[in-house]
Assembly symmetry: C2
Homo-oligomer: 191 residues x 2
């Protein structure tokens, strides 16, 4: 059995959201599982010096257009949420507070709520309601959950994850939804 693919994403990342629709079928096609790994872009940006796309002059305006066009291109339902970008700390903690067999359903529910239904994930009540809908009741004030979340995010940054989505397959890193073509060829055979 081949090693599962590591799939890193931030819940406020439009490209991470788009990729969340594609990663499972792509991996399955090549006999791979996927380990979903929520992270916090803010932690990576502290190291890389990057800033959230919408706040970057020139790039910000382009990005909004590109989010919408990329969603149409990949045929994924999408809107730019009214509150964007946001802190996804609560969402990230809910992910790591949940049992492994519920994490993917929760991640999909959180992404859909934010990028389809315009639900603000920065509000803890919203995160808890979405968690409840997939049968999870995370304790977001539990220190162990906070520590686990921080450890996972730190480990991601230590591994070089600086963007979302970010996929690692057998040690080879792929940044961005727009590397899924290279990722697919790599899954066929490293080149």
């Amino acid at each position: 059995m081949k090693e599962p693919i590591d799939f890193y994403f931030d819940f406020s990342s439009p490209y991470g959201y788009l990729a969340s629709h594609k990663i499972e079928p792509l991996a399955a096609k090549y006999g791979r599982g996927v380990t979903w790994r929520a992270m916090l872009l803010g932690a990576a940006f502290k190291v890389s010096g990057a800033a959230p796309l919408p706040s970057v002059p020139l790039k910000g305006d382009y990005s909004k257009r590109d989010f919408l066009r990329s969603a149409r291109f990949h045929d994924v339902p999408f809107r730019i949420p009214d509150q964007f970008p946001i802190s996804t700390l609560h969402a990230c903690r809910a992910f790591y507070a949940s049992p492994k067999d519920k994490q993917i359903a929760l991640a999909k529910g959180l992404f859909r709520a934010y990028f389809v239904d315009n639900v603000n994930l920065a509000e803890v009540d919203n995160v808890l309601r979405i968690a409840a809908a997939v049968g999870v009741k995370p304790d977001l004030n539990d220190q162990a959950v906070k520590d686990k979340t921080r450890a996972e995010v730190d480990a991601a940054v230590a591994r070089g994850v600086f963007g979302s989505p970010y996929v690692i397959v057998d040690g080879e890193p792929f940044w961005g939804m727009d590397r899924f073509d290279q990722l697919e060829r790599w899954l066929k055979a490293p080149f």
Copy 2:
């Protein structure tokens, strides 16, 4: 006759170089010409606050790997030059100092010299030698050439060009070699 595509690039941009191999056949397939437009990323970075990729923590290491892998993926000969990145002011001036019917040959010659033959384009003698090889003898000290170059670069930034390659087709902008899939679909029909 449809409007030509605007193709912006910086001579020190690996992705701009890769795109320079693809833009002409892609445009021709959809009955379009291409207007090649050299620019200086440094001027855009002053507005956007971005920095050259290799100098960015985390992203820099990834980028070098991605340059090489992307070149293999797109089947384009490529090496990371010993001097990288560099100022491409002389190269950009040589481009705008040349007659229009020589600009594309010069651009291809400059790109190939830098990314295949490891010739440092920051050195004016190298730029002049490559220009001579395509039958051009640009006067890089001519104030009119300096002014023209500056005006072209300023116009690019004013148009929102913040990266390389950057393509504009009928007002629709596409940033990056990795948007050529969307660019192609757009050329078929806007979506």
